[in-house]
Symmetry: C2
Subunit: 715 residues, 2 copies
Amino acid sequence: MNVELIIIVMALVSIVTAIFYAARVVRIQVGAGGGSEKETAKLKEISAAIAEGAMAFLLREYRVILLFISFMTVLIYLLLDNPKTEFNEGIYTAVAFVSGALISCLSGFIGMKIATAGNVRTAEAAKTSLSKAFRVAYDSGAVMGFGLIGLAVLGMIGLFLLFTGTNVGVAKHILMESLAGFGLGGSSVALFGRVGGGIYTKAADVGADLVGKVEKGIPEDDPRNPATIADNVGDNVGDIAGMGADLFGSAAEATCAALVIGATASALADNNSALLYPLLISAIGIPASLITTFFARVKEGGNVEKALKLQLWISTFIVAAALYFVTDIFMIDSFQIGDKTITKWNVYTSVALGLFAGMFIGWITEIYTSHSYKPVREVADACETGAATNIIYGLALGYKSTVVPVILLVIVIVVSNILAGMYGIAIAAIGMISTIAIGLTIDAYGPVSDNAGGIAEMAELGKEVRDRTDNLDAAGNTTAAVGKGFAIGSAALTSLALFAAFITRTQNASKEMGEGAIDLTSIELLDPLVFGGLLFGAMLPFIFSAMTMKSVGKAALDMVKEVRRQFKEIPGLMEGTAKPEYAKCVDISTSAALREMIPPGLLVLLSPIVVGYLFGVKSLAGLLAGALVSGVVLAISSANSGGAWDNAKKYIEKTAGGKGSEKHKAAVVGDTVGDPFKDTSGPAINILIKLMAITSLVFAEFFVTKGGIVLNFFK
Amino acid sequence: MNVELIIIVMALVSIVTAIFYAARVVRIQVGAGGGSEKETAKLKEISAAIAEGAMAFLLREYRVILLFISFMTVLIYLLLDNPKTEFNEGIYTAVAFVSGALISCLSGFIGMKIATAGNVRTAEAAKTSLSKAFRVAYDSGAVMGFGLIGLAVLGMIGLFLLFTGTNVGVAKHILMESLAGFGLGGSSVALFGRVGGGIYTKAADVGADLVGKVEKGIPEDDPRNPATIADNVGDNVGDIAGMGADLFGSAAEATCAALVIGATASALADNNSALLYPLLISAIGIPASLITTFFARVKEGGNVEKALKLQLWISTFIVAAALYFVTDIFMIDSFQIGDKTITKWNVYTSVALGLFAGMFIGWITEIYTSHSYKPVREVADACETGAATNIIYGLALGYKSTVVPVILLVIVIVVSNILAGMYGIAIAAIGMISTIAIGLTIDAYGPVSDNAGGIAEMAELGKEVRDRTDNLDAAGNTTAAVGKGFAIGSAALTSLALFAAFITRTQNASKEMGEGAIDLTSIELLDPLVFGGLLFGAMLPFIFSAMTMKSVGKAALDMVKEVRRQFKEIPGLMEGTAKPEYAKCVDISTSAALREMIPPGLLVLLSPIVVGYLFGVKSLAGLLAGALVSGVVLAISSANSGGAWDNAKKYIEKTAGGKGSEKHKAAVVGDTVGDPFKDTSGPAINILIKLMAITSLVFAEFFVTKGGIVLNFFK
């Protein structure tokens, strides 16, 4: 069977599925479910404002990104323009880079379009039944899920065919290195998506809450709050576009890492069906996810959360089974990488290990962030003695929640490495996100439901409708936490795989250079250059978090001032007789996000390039390892502390105490601190570690041949 | 000149100096400075209660420590009882271990005794003048400073003479490894001192504040607050005994690491005067510090903070100059370690580098934690919008404050390594704390002044007296932050030096074993066992912090309940007509500290032993490196966030807003969160990284010969 063809067909199936779901969502008419004409008009007006704000942000963000892409393309061309071979690595890498970046942008655009169409239609469907509303939100998510992975797979197989078809004589491992540009492109867009989107959404959220809930005592999503539209826009730009770009990056990067490492094995390089195995994993996840969607249904009054979690389990088991046969058919019986013999079952075990480790990390995340379990309830109890003890307990919870995920990651790393070397780790990383179509569907479902609730509240739909959207939204919160667990777990494995690919690449490059090159056969932990890099790298996630957290703080402060101003200066606003100026708040978030995403972005992109150029490959290797290990721990703890504070507050609202009590006030402080933790700085670290690793991989040749100028100076 | 004799004489000079200062403090009669008989009686009563509480805690703590020492001694004997050589490493290491532990206990005991005598006498002297009060607090600190380093140096030179004198035929590097037991002993006591003391002091502090200041609105150290004696006891057990044990550990461990590494150079092993150079650095710090004390004076209305900081600079420059001559006279011109040739000036540059890096790290710490500078003022401004933004800004400040110290450490590591290999790093670590006598004097000065203020408040001495003690206390806060910077910087270098000694040791042991041994010549960063260890290790400081922070939270909760109970059940307490039951609060802190210090203690001690035994030396090396890099960053950020919140609150109290305002309430939340950060979890990480490294070093032989049983299983 022709593997390339199978992959292309699967990618097309995925895209068609996305189109099908999109059609099903858009078909729904706002107002068809009943309600007065005035109500319908209001629904349309509000959703239009959100859609407009989201699109305005996205377009302005893409302008910045386009500038950045142009700059990077030139940089790639200049730094990788290696005239010593006939194959011009610079041009091919640049092509792959631009493709990756544009496809990532396109995915974000599609996700945002459908989310801002799906939110109001979910609210509309909630007039009829929970089951129908669930379906609309789920379908909207599925457009993102299937569209994104379809485009990613199509892009990669297309580039693969282009590169191998036009450069028949060139060694596969060199071609695959150029393909890594695709991952860099995807991840660069993710940087801006995650950081910019994260700042946007939390500035709006914190600003809206601080004045609305705390000072004025009006509920969430109250139409009198000038920041409420910005808050709803934020859900889309942060959780849809940001999350999508993040996972797009993971998929692309893990695949590139596996291709780069795999291509060093001559048995794989000579056999396209085996070489393309990493892409096949993602491709086979598509029909598996498609089958899973048939099980997505909720009865009126049913348990939405259970239905969503079931989706993850079903897709995991189908993929695990399908991959068994795929491996048996397409992978060669055994091959050599270095002096390691790897059988196809070693490879299969690595995929399965990544797949199930992802599920377990998600499950542990839930235990630490859902108020159905003890940890969050302890944090809620700590609110009894005030905000300070709430913060102390919440931080401690986050720190503690890192233990099991770290141990699981260590097991995956050690075992898959024993089984299949660094190839095993890359394969495990792909395995972890092989169910990405379902994962993203559920992730995107969350903000769509959240928005639907907001729209229902603002349009003052009936209590029954609002109850249904609340029900949908609550389930989305839990799955969001699970999704974050996945995202960081896959980022860790992906980065490690990229790191391994980087080392492989530099060792080859140094060997090719022959005499005069630095000996890179061994990267010694105790080498001062390595250790210095390690310590410096371990600091980077912290300074990066500091930057993004302060950005949120600063932007929120601007937002608070504007909201206060409107309440003071617009007569009748509090009484509901006058309308607030929503657009001003949208503009504040937009400008702040675009302005504030630049410095952390530069930190991430320039750190590896500067360190590699000045101090050489060994320091850079240390830097990557240090950033990876401290970043993983900080990201997990930030995300889980934030999730726990959020749900501790919800728990207090549901149980004794309730809104307005001292205990609840203490809980709100934790929730507000947690917002940038869980939605800005925590998830952005995923991008930090992946992007630094892939930047190093793409520029590996440059660092070996021209890097380490400070060291040369001392020679 | 006989080097051993010089070192012994210097150690004795140090001890005599301590005795001299102690006599000067104790000579002061309480009540001699005027005041009514009733006032004098009250002074005596309060200070007796504090002294009694502190001593009771220390004795109970020492009982636990004695149990632990017995257990460890047996463990050392069993695991290191290597019958293949005539030199029984187990016995000698056990002797060194017991000596280190007992001397550390003795130092803590002396420090506590003089601090609890000095606090009331400082209050007494404050009746007369600032200058006199300053002198008493300073003198009390000096007893700790000079006593501790004198005993440490005496212990080490004594063991050195004993070991080398009784084992003439045995290679020096084997003897020096046994000497490392001294460092392990010191650091083990430090673990309990820092963790137990840290939990004690913050449980009392947070408990006293939450009810006293927040709920009842009575000032700090108000005699009506039942937890106020416990709070003052806490200053002594945490900041005196804990800090002292921490720095004692650093001094002992850095010296041991330098001796172990140095002894592998045959030129040093054959020449005692050169081999003992590390001890000579500490020894020469003693007269240098003694000269510095002559400059310690403050005029009435003078700037106390400036006087204290001047002390650090003077001692630094004197030591730097003195070491120039010492190096010239006692160090040999050049020697080889491995294939590196090291000149005496390379060694001197390394010491100087450590010495000045310490000063700069202290200076940076001050900039991030003093409200004279922008960072803390920004945090204070963030209180405008409530506790949540205060927390976000404070955490961001802590994260950001890691950049410069980390870069300084990287420079010291890389440069001293280029100059003198791993020996250079060990020497730099000793250099950083060569002014320890002055450093500790100033550190201990802080809690003595703080206590003096508390006693003056409780005994209701005049406003003038209280103003003077406030003045002394404020300066102590700044120098405490600087001291923490030093402590973590030296802990980082010390751990790295120990780590290097550990690697050296295991490589030798594996070579000696010959065939069948694991090849340890290279510890590859990308080896899955190493990388797995790295990731696991990076998680340890976080879980350790979580444990200690929650311990403080739990103990504070008990304290809050007890204080609330007393206010409710004791009639006339709030009116000042009845006395609270101080002893009950002291008992709560004591029991909580002793109970809660066990689990984190076991985590630190067992992690390296279990990992080394199960997964072998490579995983353990990864673990140490991971814990080191993430620990340094987390410790710096925790300490500085905490310090910044504290001073942001003080800044608000001094400027607009003032006590009782909403802004001040927001600041109090930050201060309360910061308490366990800066005084419990942050500083305890110093011990974590040092203790894990020295445990690995002491048991290195065991890990090489018997470790890695899980790996053997897979073979």
